[in-house]
Symmetry: C2
């Protein structure tokens, strides 16, 4: 076959299938669920398949099961978010909310704001829409909204392209773990109003708080439909169940639904989630999971303090991730590749930057492995760093760096 | 809020949620499954949730479960299609294959070929990609490939825009029910080679044959990766399970996977399908379902012959749909709206045309309702037609026609 005439968005992606990770690898890369605490939903699954057979196996409603949408409204109320059923669209996870909102709002070349660094899969999805990306630096308080405001004013003054969307993970940010302050959240809503853009508040980790006080969702400060909330049961129940949602103005939600080409989500898994919400098992699961995730985090931060005290990080108050700045001069891409050969999977920090990535960050998830594996994994990782510090030949060649960038990461 | 600056693809869609259909309506519109034959999968669901807990509830592989992909390879072999695991991408149904293939191949303004008429949801999905649509007329043998060839030669001679993709439902076409001949299938592949386009072969109904001989899939004539097959368990098991697939060249499949923003499909439902495939229950279900669908079809064609003998249709040899040409002068849009008020849901034929729709076609699905309901529904529908033939005031106003076009249909 002659060269394939791909769409421009597709030409340079997906050239290789995802790498096969060694079965015995210590996986500190993706934000997977801790297997020991994945719930047993066999009773709910059997009940739903029997009692709701004709609902669970038939095409589901385009917006999702009304009862589940109602339960999500109630769930959001606990966070101080007011919604009604018409605001809720059931999705196959929160990433689909970003995808559909981009389709709804963003034409090729339109601008989207992200924090620097940001969620690596969000970057892929935004790039797949051929949006231009505006990165706003972060500090210890998260996205620097003052810098955003200055940038927006400058763009307006110069007649530049103002953004149509801002993407942010405000609670236990991916990758930095930072929670955005209430003041900055209010500023984001004010700027969205003034500069006519929308905010996607991607909030998968909110309920997994180890310490400190919760900050009200950005959505709770939104009086004018400027914020679309994205949520998921992936991090608080089970990622494999593939049930998430978007919460937004019906004019936005209606477009997202119409652009959801595969139709309504699986009613079988929706009904299982609904059962688990109503019975209180999800609340119970969160209560059980949170202290376990805290122990995982402690195991990871302790291991870094022991094995690489000069590594810089901020222990997050919740969520799944630790964002580590390796000592100056260490190349995180080389470390990532070398660690993989040693059986430890981490993600190079460069994937979380839309442009000009610094080379010495890595993202680790403490969600999937237990404390012992985390200690062993971090110890091996730190040994790789030590070797690299004494061996400049360990720097990756161009080919290796490219191979890293071409992979799929979750 | 000021007017929302939607992306151009989104401005005019999804303005209203789907209409609420009366609970006791006779539903001859969407291609839903016959509820009485939806399988009891409670044992499989419970088994999977227990025995495969950590697989079923964890993030699944981006391409789908390797074992399911292998079973689909085997399934395709029964149709004379040669594939291997690397060709198979698991999706949330077959519609997602069209969506992802459009993203992979089609930039805004690129041309896509469809038959006239064609699957109404495919039209929506193609429009959502802002492709230009080339319609090729159909006759009693399906898409007129001679006309396609002439059109392509003319376009090339005139320097016009050649298509990048052709969409077709070759077996028991939606909506016409026609099966494309082997000769026409071979011609499509030859034209795809000569004019450098791809073919999406959407084949949900293939196994539901009531009579006549199966024709080998278009994909079986493809030696050069020009054809992407799309399949689903929606019509041969249960639509709610949301498991389908694409079968194509790895270079295409890899792009489709990279553009599948929500990641891997639900492993719980995949594993249930895998169990049902391996145990032979899906084959058994097809064997049980096919004669039932034939009885439904017979009930529908008998009812039309009795109540509206001048209606023209071709009784399909399989599948889910009957495509009916109403008597000259009857407005199918008005009939559809009036029938809905009388408690019978059918789809106006205009939705299956990309442009300049004729006004006197309707699409009916005989899948969902049993024979008695089908008889009653067609009788009421035909009474509406009779009333309209004697009452010109029943023609729909512009507003009603628009309201019809703005709805969601599956």
């Amino acid at each position: 076959m002659a060269e394939i005439r791909f769409a421009s968005r597709a030409a340079s992606i997906g050239k290789r299938p995802p790498p096969i990770v060694a079965l015995d690898a210590i996986k500190l890369g993706g934000g997977n669920a801790f297997p020991d605490l994945l719930p047993d939903v066999s009773a709910e699954a059997a009940d739903v398949a029997t009692l709701f057979r004709t609902e669970a196996l038939q095409y589901g409603p385009l917006y999702g099961l009304p009862e589940l949408r109602q339960e999500i409204v109630r769930f959001l109320t606990e966070d101080g978010v007011t919604a009604n059923v018409d605001n809720i669209l059931i999705l196959n996870g929160a990433k689909q909310a970003l995808d559909l909102l981009l389709r709804t709002l963003v034409d090729k070349g339109d601008a989207v704001v992200v924090s620097r660094p940001t969620y690596l899969s969000a970057l892929s999805i935004i790039r797949n829409h051929e949006a231009s990306i505006i990165e706003i630096d972060s500090d210890e308080g998260g996205m620097k909204v003052d810098e955003l405001e200055a940038k927006l004013r400058r763009l307006r003054a110069e007649g530049g392209k103002l953004p149509k969307l801002l993407f942010e993970v405000p609670d236990f940010h991916n990758p930095t773990g930072i929670t955005l302050s209430e003041e900055r959240r209010r500023t984001l809503v004010r700027l969205a109003e003034e500069f006519d853009f929308f905010i996607l508040e991607d909030d998968p980790y909110r309920r997994l708080r180890f310490s400190g006080e919760a900050v009200a969702p950005i959505k709770s400060f939104d009086t004018n439909g400027r914020v679309i909330g994205a949520g998921t049961f992936s991090k608080i129940l089970a990622p494999g169940i593939r049930v998430g949602w978007a919460n937004g103005d019906p004019a936005i939600i209606g477009r997202m639904a119409a652009l959801k080409s595969e139709g309504g989500c699986c009613p079988l898994t929706q009904r299982i989630v609904l059962d688990l919400l109503r019975s209180g098992r999800i609340a119970h699961h969160i209560a059980e999971l949170t202290p376990v995730m805290k122990r995982h985090r402690d195991a990871m931060t302790d291991a870094f303090r022991l094995h690489l005290p000069e590594a810089r990080f901020r222990a997050p108050d919740g969520g799944y991730f630790l964002w580590v700045e390796l000592p100056d001069g260490v190349d995180a891409n080389a470390v990532t590749l070398e660690a993989e050969r040693d059986g430890v999977i981490v993600f190079p920090g460069q994937l979380s930057f839309a442009s000009a990535p610094p080379v010495n960050f890595i993202r680790l998830a403490f969600s999937y492995c237990g404390p012992d594996q985390i200690e062993r994994g971090v110890r091996k990782l730190c040994a790789v760093v030590r070797r690299q510090q004494t061996d400049v030949s360990a720097q990756p060649g161009q080919a290796e760096a490219l191979s890293l960038a071409g992979r799929h990461y979750d």
